[in-house]
């Protein structure tokens, strides 16, 4: 099976063959022999050419969060074919800023039409006893603002859209 796997925003072609814990995985054409054993819950023991890795896989939209030893990766996995063009990655389409936790909007720092930088503060939320600045996921223009000051919001509430 062939996948495009985007690790930390960088896309790689990954081809997997094998079964029952023994896999050959070609990452960008470089082959890895992988011995895979699930060890309870999300944990997997991988042996890759004699190297041992303690791995955990947490499903997330589009792929997995992958812990490898002390490293934390977000990996998007998309099934593809051998001849497909490598899927492009990067800022494409509007970016939606949603509330990462329940809380109260303290200040709204953006208004529709405003040009913003990546990382610029858009909304200040009070949650878990702290005021937290929520930042723009990308540079662009603010097209929608749904956050209202003093409003109480739940996790996932759409606050701002940047295009």
């Amino acid at each position: 099976m062939i996948f495009d796997a985007a690790v930390d925003g960088q896309t790689h072609r990954v081809e997997v063959t094998g079964s029952k814990g023994r896999y050959t995985v070609a990452v960008d054409g470089r082959p890895l022999e992988v011995d895979w054993r699930e060890v309870g819950g999300p944990f997997v023991s991988l042996l890759v050419g004699g190297r041992s890795h303690h791995v955990a896989l947490e499903p997330r939209p589009g792929g997995y969060r992958v812990l490898v030893d002390s490293h934390d990766f977000a990996v998007d996995v998309l099934e593809t074919t051998r001849d497909a063009v490598l899927a492009p990655r990067g800022p494409a389409g509007p970016a939606r800023l949603v509330a990462p936790m329940p809380g109260r909007i303290v200040r709204v720092l953006a208004e529709p039409g405003q040009e913003v930088e990546a990382g610029q503060g858009l909304v200040v939320m009070e949650a878990m006893k702290m005021e937290n600045e929520l930042r723009s996921p990308r540079a662009g223009r603010v097209v929608e603002v749904h956050a209202r000051e003093l409003q109480t919001v739940e996790t996932g509430f759409l606050l701002v859209v940047v295009e």
């Binding site: 099976m1 996948f3 796997a5 690790v7 930390d8 960088q10 790689h12 990954v14 997997v16 079964s19 896999y23 995985v25 990452v27 470089r30 890895l32 992988v34 895979w36 309870g40 819950g41 999300p42 944990f43 997997v44 991988l46 890759v48 890795h53 303690h54 791995v55 955990a56 896989l57 947490e58 499903p59 792929g63 997995y64 969060r65 992958v66 812990l67 490898v68 030893d69 002390s70 490293h71 934390d72 990766f73 990996v75 996995v77 099934e79 990462p100 936790m101 329940p102 809380g103 009070e126 949650a127 878990m128 006893k129 702290m130 005021e131 937290n132 600045e133 929520l134 930042r135 996790t155």
Partner: protein
Amino acid sequence: MSERIFRKILVANRGEIAVRVIRACREMGIVSVAVFSEADRAARHVRLADEAWPIGPPRAADSYLRIDRVIDAARASGADAVHPGYGFLAENAGFARACEEAGLVFIGPRSQTIALVGEKTSARRLAVAAGLPVVPGTLEPLVDDAAIRREAERIGFPLMLKAAAGGGGKGLRLVASAAELVSAAGRARSEARSAFGDDRVYVEKALVRPRHVEIQVMADHHGNVVHLFERECSIQRRHQKVVEETPSPLLTPDLRARMGMLAVALVRKSGYVNAGTLEFLMDESREPYFLEMNTRLQVEHPVTELVTGVDLVKLQIGIAQGEPLPFAQADLVQRGHAIECRVYAEDPDAGFLPCPGRILALRVPGGPGIRDDSGVEEGDEVPSYYDPLVSKLVAWGEDRASAIARMRRAVREYKVLGIKTTLPFFERVLRHPDFLAGRIDTSFVERLGREKQAEEERPWAVAAAAAAIGALARRRAARTTPGAGPAPSAWRREGRREAMGGRG
């Protein structure tokens, strides 16, 4: 003060510190009573306590901060004494007074001492009187914006705005210039109001790249006072400590002894009893300035316990029972080195944004020199209502280098699934050349955030391979097992739990 023996202690807190105190009670043969909000019915501190009493809805203001409800629970359970932990009501003189009036022993200083020392500007005045150097700033709390502006102009920028009733980094703002003053003051006061119910602030000169060193003190009811050396707390994010250690790599034996003497002087001057911590700032010339005193157990107390061999919580309880300190200053010796990393439910890649949620899987490190003071177990929820501290990971080693190496080993073993934590951030701190050399100040975290992580060190190809095999296995399972869905097994406990019949 005559001695008495506590049969039962109510722990007026939640999370890891409630667990810490409950453990001390159990080891002393004292019955522990937990209190819990509706969000914490099945929390770990409830499970570990001998008894547990509900005190209201999830919001802290409706439960853990409700003096009346906590006192009612203490009375109803027949507790002899109350341990406040840190945070919530721990430095609330009104709560200590309410305990005293209800005939409950408050495990901490007397209520009038908390009022005197806990209020930051009055502590500063007291420190000046006891001969301690203080950071230039106001000695009285400021009640309106005009007064803040006036004092700010007198002291000059950069300056710090601080909650008079404060602690734990709440209601605290660094103000670089006059232009930022009004909005910073607004935020600091609003945070202070919601955290402490008191929006008075004060102004202090901001030191350049200061270091933050504190001294632990203990005083009994018989006039005995000791210090238990220092803790280095310069690694902070959002003015909150995240990594602490002892001994401080900065202190010489002479400086340590001098700071300890200053701390003991202030304790004697104020008639202070039980555990307390004097916080000092140090500038680049290593000159210490008294900053404030915390009139309670400190979050980072375990590092002191590991190098001195003293159990501070048991000692607090013993002092509250009227016992004299079981040792003199000369008996106290620092052995080895200890570091604490605070594992917060926060995303370090998103500016330490809180990240509450359910812990879907958990693997806690163990082995030599590792102590984990945790408020959660696998399956537990980190609620969004409270401080996002999940656990305190503490490492002891023969010297600083081995403590650091051990902490790195433990951070690598620690696995938390379901939420993001500060663990990957610690990995970076613990191998940073400045940290290894002890070149740390309160701007360290900000500097670290600007440095890009070396790409080649990250095993990204293994991550890509693992994700692809996971996706392959998932698809095959979906094809061959009609009942199997898209997620690996452990992740579906949630839904299954309801099917088990309970409420989860």
